[in-house]
Amino acid sequence: MTRKPMIGQSISRLEGPLKVTGEAKYAGEYNAENLVYGYVVNSSITKGSISAIDTDDAKKMNGVIEIFTHENRPPTAWFDIQYADMDAPPGTVFKPLKDNIIKYNGQPIALVVAETFEMARYAAMKIKVAYIDEEFETDFKAKLHNERNPKKGLASMLKPPPPKPKGDFEEAYRNSYVQSSGTFKHGTEHHNPMEMFASTVIYQGKGKLKIYDKTQGTINSQLYVANVFGLKMKNVQVISPFVGGAFGSGLRPQYQLFMAVMASLALKRNVRVTLDRTQMFTFGHRPPTIQYTRFGADQNGKVNALYHKASAETSQFEDYVEMVVNWSNMLYPAENTLMESKLVPLDVYSPLDMRAPGGSTGIHAIEITMDELAFKLNIDPLELRLINYSNVDKSSDKEYSSKELRECYLQGAEKFGWSKRNPKPRSMKRGNKLIGYGMATGIWDANRLLARVEARMTSDGKVELKSAVTDIGTGTFTVLSQIASDELGMNLENVTFSYADSSMPFAPIQGGSFTTATVGAAVKTACQALNKKIFKKAASLKESFLSFAQFEDIIFRNGFLILKSDPESRISVVDIFKQLSIKEIKTTNTAMPNPLTSGKKAKAAHSAVFVEVEVDEELGVIEVTRAVTSVAAGKIINPKTAESQILGGMVWGISKALHEETITDHQFGKYMNPNLAEYHIPVHADIHDLSVIFVEEQDQFVNDLGIKGVGEIGIVGMPPAIANAVFHATGKRINDLPIHFERLL
């Protein structure tokens, strides 16, 4: 009767074989009868208007079907709100082809539809556009004086504004025994998932569409399409079974979806629009941000004053905000705090959530400032974190539902060999290289939203679950299947998970590390409800041993209902179906956080990161030779997929610290390295010894399953740990990212 739980087992991704054999179909790979292809034309100026757009030559070309511009596009929704997707910041959503106004470089201005993709792309080059240029502003550093407070909107729900000031920061800082301050800058970064954005729209007649879309939210895309094009929700089906990475870029419907749907409805045909790599740089990005910190501590290392200010870029039409400055007081319990968050609007597209938005930005500044504090106090950086350890989030004065960060520190330090660190900068060497050990803390919210799941058992005793949730390559449907398997007491083989289809029960956009907690809870609820329904049916059978039993007296195991007190008393679900002559038992259920209690505690995942760097000081070459990340993120459903998430985050952390940056030319107001040859992310040779520890953490408060999510926590602590290691190696404090040769010479 004992059964090894699936939760906690390292199951390989169920869709893995499909992906590695090329069987998995992505949004741009679905074929349809008489499919035609769209290619988008983008603005080559940054700000101004189109005075004339001549499509005559292009239209005459063989195989060209139609060219859509602002002059001839079909009418779409009138009101702003109809364009607002689930992740829209306050402001006015960008509307493709709305009019002749150019708001940013690379703005989509036309769609060529042709018999082949190549034909459409070729014809696009024959379109002649005349512009009226206007002066533009893209230089973030030059326009810092324009900073202002962000507008508030729905997005503030998951990204609250900075906490209110506490105590008297200036006074406390002035009187601190030691002070540490810094200015931190990073430039624009782009998500660059491997898979390009693509939508294949199948025209099913009379305002009915089936859409294969690259997205992190099928219902988000469905909502957008229905609202913008005035279609009924039930007539718009959005499907996205495989997503080749998104990292936040799929949290909003991108313009290829608008274009493909517009063309499909106008032409009454099946249409596919795929973006190319250059076009992947013409929508959201991580905004360039400048941060200022001032931390003060007493002589024992107790931090008593925290100041953190961030100014970030946004567009002229939306106030995209990140939660950058809220983290320090969540980690360190100072009584005097002052936090500010500002925006600088520029002539760019709106920034967009990108892996650990805000967190990876803010924690970089916080953890370097803490490292400097430790250095000035002559206290070990790890010791300083322990001195300032708190089980209470002082920014909200709430106790953490669980916080095993101390174990992260201790286990991570042990595995890394932190005790071998000579505290003196420049003191450790290997050959002609300087060695540096650095560490940092990581934190990320453990959020949870509302989701619905359908569970259906058929007469063969198998169960199918359904949710609109996507799996953006993280292993989502594998871990959801594991949860279902345990709840139903069934083997994985008998549980099917159908997902990534907007016609299935509601799931929110997949981001912010809240998906497993959100949908996982709904899976558990639906499976419990299914078990209860089966039990009721079974109890209704004549002469059933269950007639007098309660639901709690029963165990569900491998397709049998078994009486706990007498395991010989059992009935198979197949028998129940047979005796009652029914075909299926079905239930759809909702799970959401309890609004009365869920806000009573602070909820977060934590990490501790330890990094070794080797620095060739004469040449300015830095190598991350070793890194250990220990994570406390509640119950780890699948250690294998969870470890992959953390490793991916660590690699990205190395990239953020040492490699990647989108370069803007302010003469032209455009990005100059929009391809993977010049937008540098690490190659295999840059990645060495990385390891991950999951620390045991019990948390029944955060949700019934004790899940916190592992999407973002892998990256947040990496860049500051690397910068701190570089300081330890060289004695040079480098706050700006990425750390390139020139910063070390």
Binding site: M125, E618, L619, Q667, P682, V683, D686
Partner: protein, 339 residues
């Protein structure tokens, strides 16, 4: 990309005939760069002449003068891993393997390597002025983002750099380029093959249109005892050099008898300063002397807003690479580069 025709030829004579001295007809060998150039609408070809079936230039042969001949259609990968090259010209092997990625080296040819064009961001963006792409339109890089650009040999018309690693070694080894064309055959010393930008940055090299590189000759001397190639870049593979250095030293009785030092990533062509090499002759191979040579190589260097660091970095790279050349064993496969 525009519409073009495509033809395959199997003899050199056919290739020259098909090209017909017309600048709108282009040769395709490995195709690793021409593909980008066509797609980004920088090269507008009427006809692509695929010379891959021309078999006589697809090998490495020993020459009577003791040198070797690298076929123009031999791939970069096959050249780098050729036993003769590995044994006698390890500097070339190492430089090739520092370039591009394994996939690209498998396709790219030796002749094509000489013909690749700059990776200047502005050159590849048809919506920005660029004298190399559109002579007379101006240079966007001079006042733009110029971190990857030239610090020596540039002109006010162009500060682009030549991206090859292989050619840096070929320059140091004093290779010779063998060329065939409508008017017969000729040879160019490697130093005279590529050009500085001057007033005509649109012209990368001294090949006359209609001519084809058939092979590259290496002289007998390969500096296999004391050599080193050092490449500094933003990631460990698949990134062009910010600075690279090829060094070959002939040291006898602790005295430099001959020195070759060529730099990549800093100029419109592989950069050699004979004065610096001559300076080292007769001197002890020590850091102080290499530092003086480095100063001579970078004499008159001029940086821009984002690339001034390259001048100091290049000097340090020259010194380090000369020191590494004293102990080339550290560069053998599997060895950790360290001095």
């Amino acid at each position: 990309m525009n519409n073009f025709s495509y033809t395959k030829v199997s003899t050199l004579a056919d290739a020259i005939h098909e090209i017909d001295g017309d600048i709108r007809n282009k040769i395709v060998a490995g195709g690793t760069n021409i593909n980008d150039l066509l797609r980004y609408f920088i090269t507008k070809a009427d006809k692509l002449v695929d010379i891959n079936p021309v078999s006589e230039y697809n090998s490495i042969v020993r020459l009577e003068n003791g040198g070797i001949r690298l076929g123009a259609l031999h791939t970069n990968a096959d050249t780098a891993y050729d036993p003769i090259v590995e044994e006698r010209y390890p500097l070339l092997s190492k430089a090739i393997l520092a370039g591009a990625s394994a996939q690209i080296r498998n396709m790219a040819t030796n002749g094509g390597n000489l013909m690749q064009r700059t990776r200047c961001y502005y050159f590849y963006d048809i919506h920005t002025p660029c004298n190399k792409r559109d002579l007379g339109s101006g240079c966007s890089a001079i006042n733009g983002y110029n971190r990857i650009h030239a610090v020596v040999g540039q002109s006010e018309n162009c500060i682009a750099v030549f991206p090859s690693d292989m050619c840096v070694a070929l320059a140091a080894l004093q290779a010779t380029v063998n060329i065939s064309g409508p008017n017969g055959e000729r040879t160019l010393p490697f130093a005279d093959f590529h050009r500085l930008p001057g007033d005509t940055p649109n012209i990368d090299n001294n090949l006359i249109h209609g001519e084809i590189i058939t092979s590259i000759d290496l002289p007998e001397k390969g500096f296999e005892k004391n050599y080193s190639y050092l490449k500094l870049r933003d990631r460990s593979s698949y990134a062009f050099a910010l600075v690279s250095v090829a060094t070959g030293l002939d040291i006898q009785n602790n005295v430099v008898k001959e020195a070759r030092i060529a730099l990549g990533g800093v100029a419109h062509k592989p950069w050699r300063v004979l004065e610096a090499e001559d300076f080292l002759i007769g001197k002890e191979p020590v850091r102080e002397n290499f530092a003086k040579a480095a100063d001579l190589i970078l004499k008159g260097a001029q940086g821009y807003e984002h690339n001034s660091f390259k001048i100091e970095l290049a000097k340090r790279a020259v010194i380090r690479n000369c020191m590494m050349a004293l102990n080339p064993e550290v560069q053998r496969p599997g060895a950790k580069p360290s001095v």
